[in-house]
């Protein structure tokens, strides 16, 4: 009896110690929570509030707003462009998740080895990360807009975007393949594959760097002991590298979904941006669209992280 009581007491004491520890871990979240409570809770609240409003810029009156309940959401679902764009984004996302994860892991494993010219390759492979903010896309887009408006103004500044962009044009490749008398299906497949490779390389810079950092944090002594035990490179990849990097695979899958959904050149992003600037419903309709889109993305993140997290290995006992 007394022993059982004793162990119970010990258990109770341990639990409080655990709870104390958990409480002190909350300390680490203080900056983030302060930011949420004082700033972002209100920012998100405002944004959700907008999605229930009808907004329109009227010349003399300025901004016209009116509470319309869920009407903006209903309008978003009736907008065929929007529904189509969401469907397309989802299909693109599926392809991206699989291809980007495989490609970036492959390249990261190569770059983590001691190959010649590693410094050069790593610097080059970092460039897509720099451009991930859409900096260059914006430059190209504003170039096009400026050229159009200035052409209309009748100045002698002509379109020069063609110089820079026309060399590796998709159209050239298309024409070339047509001349080879392949069936249209095959040439379409090749063109899609080429542009696909181009896109995949440019959107997987971040994921590759994360994998690279993850690979660098694996202690070399694990590989050494596996080598002494006679493990081949293939075995040590699947039995050491893969489990050790698996937490980062989850990160990269989630990030690829997020990135694929929120890239600056995503059709929904373009639609939301143009909707928020003009059109009937204005910011209100744009906010409703964005929140619907957010929920769709969240569902897919949930599904993917549920599947991937079954394969993730943490060096912990629970």
């Amino acid at each position: 009896m007394s022993i059982a009581e004793n162990t119970l007491q010990v258990k109770a004491r341990r639990l409080t110690a655990m709870q104390k520890k958990q409480l002190s871990y909350w300390l680490f979240l203080v900056p983030f929570l302060i930011g949420f409570v004082f700033l972002f809770l209100w920012i998100y609240f405002d944004s959700i509030r907008y999605s229930f409003l009808y907004m329109e810029l009227r010349g003399a009156e300025g901004l016209f707003t009116e509470f319309r309940g869920f009407e903006m959401y209903a309008q978003a679902f009736e907008d065929l462009d929007f529904v189509n764009n969401v469907r397309n984004s989802v299909t693109t996302m599926f392809g991206n998740v699989i291809l980007v994860t495989l490609y970036s892991l492959f390249i990261a494993v190569i770059l983590s080895q001691n190959i010649k010219g590693r410094t050069f390759f790593r610097a080059v492979f970092f460039i897509p990360v720099i451009l991930a903010t859409g900096f260059m896309t914006k430059a190209d887009m504003s170039n096009m807009i400026m050229e159009q408006t200035w052409d209309n103004l009748g100045t002698d500044i002509q379109a020069t975007g063609t110089i820079a962009n026309g060399i590796f044009d998709r159209m050239d490749l298309q024409a070339y393949l047509m001349n080879l008398n392949f069936s249209p299906q095959i040439s379409r497949f090749v063109i899609n594959a080429v542009t696909g490779i181009f896109d995949i390389i440019n959107i997987s810079g971040v994921q590759m760097m994360i994998f690279l950092a993850g690979l660098q944090s694996i202690s070399p002594s694990i590989y050494e002991s596996a080598d002494i035990d006679g493990a081949t490179a293939w075995e040590s990849f699947w039995l050491i590298t893969f489990p050790m990097i698996s937490p980062m695979i989850l990160v990269n899958v989630i990030y690829t979904i997020i990135d694929s959904f929120t890239r600056a050149d995503n059709p929904i992003m373009l639609q939301v941006r143009s909707q928020s600037l003009m059109g009937k419903g204005g910011m209100g309709l744009a906010a409703a669209m964005a929140w619907i889109y957010f929920l769709v993305a969240l569902i897919f993140i949930g599904i993917f992280s549920f599947i991937v997290s079954r394969f993730v290995y943490y060096q912990q006992r629970d």
């Binding site: 930011g35 990160v251 928020s276």
Partner: protein, 333 residues
């Protein structure tokens, strides 16, 4: 006794000698085979890497070619890639018109500040999320995901209004004479120190996953040595996370450097590269320079190159110093 002992001792020696012979043959065989294999493997490896590198660099090369062209070359149909009259005029023009020196200084300052704060705060938040259990911490994790998933355009207006009229306890008005912290470093500092900067949710997610992978035994050993939770983190766990944090720092640094979203909201007067590059051509057009020898596309191409060139240089230097240092030292594992 001694006889059986020697017999037992010699028997395994014989077999091991045999094994050694076999191993020797197969080793020689394996070396030649693997040499050929590795040569072919290496050839295709370098071919692949070179191709990918080419695809990445190509858009920059086209920009470089446009930047080096003189005004005549643009209207010359025979000039496609290599300019006939290469010139540095475009670079000189951009350096002068975009106030490059000042903008570069501001950009470096903002990026360094933002990246340092974001790396530290995201690391802290990630550790908290990795160690906490329960519904409440899951809710916080959901908020983290939300910060990266909500399209930024949709919080643009509410965020602008928050910072435009920011005046906690009337302090801002007391010091500067009017409410709002636009065109100061404060918006970036506030966003960074709370972990809401550009794509900070990703950093938090990365750090959480990293800390979840750290064996619990290490922390238990630290606890036995008498460290508290905070002490364990700063003395034991944080040093292990250095490679991850270096990567995050570089992300944060280069994203703050090239970010046009936050810069466009907060820094309308404060000159940073991400803004001046884009405002420069229209500003010059407004100043009546249209019709003179400049071209908007050429200027933008040159501007983009000049804006990201320092980043690439910094990355190369940092890579040599920091990353190589991490690999050599016993920090990892």
């Amino acid at each position: 006794m001694s006889m059986s002992n020697t017999a037992a001792a010699t028997a395994p020696v014989k077999t091991s000698k045999d094994k050694f012979k076999k191993a020797k043959i197969s080793l020689r065989d394996r070396v030649t085979k693997s040499r050929i294999k590795s040569f072919i493997g290496r050839f295709f490896l370098y071919l692949l890497m070179a191709e990918i590198a080419f695809i990445i660099i190509f858009p920059l090369l086209t920009k470089l070619s446009a930047a080096l062209m003189s005004y005549e070359d643009i209207f010359d149909r025979t000039v496609t890639f290599i300019p006939k009259h290469p010139t540095l005029e475009n670079f000189a023009l951009v350096l002068k018109e975009s106030d490059y020196g000042l903008a570069l200084y501001h950009t470096a300052l903002v990026s360094l500040l933002a990246a340092s704060l974001q790396t530290l705060v995201c690391s802290l938040t990630g550790y908290g999320l990795a160690k906490l259990r329960g519904k409440l911490s899951n809710a916080v994790f959901f908020i983290v995901l939300m910060t990266v998933l909500v399209p930024p355009q949709i919080i643009l207006v509410p965020m602008y209004l928050k910072f435009r009229f920011m005046n906690p306890l009337g302090l801002v008005e007391l010091i500067t004479g009017k409410a709002g912290v636009m065109n100061t470093l404060w918006p970036i500092i506030i966003l960074s120190i709370t972990g809401y900067g550009f794509k900070n949710g990703l950093f938090i997610l990365v750090m959480r996953q990293f800390y979840k992978g750290v064996p619990e035994e290490i922390e238990e050993a630290a606890a036995i040595d008498g460290y508290g939770v905070v002490g364990t983190y700063f003395r034991i766990v944080l040093p292990m996370a250095v490679p991850m944090m270096v990567t995050i720092f570089m992300f944060a640094f280069s994203w703050q450097w090239t970010d046009t979203f936050y810069s466009g909201i907060f820094f309308t007067q404060y000159k940073v590269l991400a803004n001046t590059i884009f405002t420069m051509p229209s500003a010059m057009a407004g100043a009546g320079a249209v019709g003179t020898n400049f071209n908007s596309a050429m200027l933008l191409h040159t501007g983009v190159l000049l804006a990201i060139a320092p980043l690439i240089i910094i990355y190369c230097v940092a890579q040599r110093r920091i990353i190589a240092g991490i690999e050599r030292s016993g920090l990892v594992g």
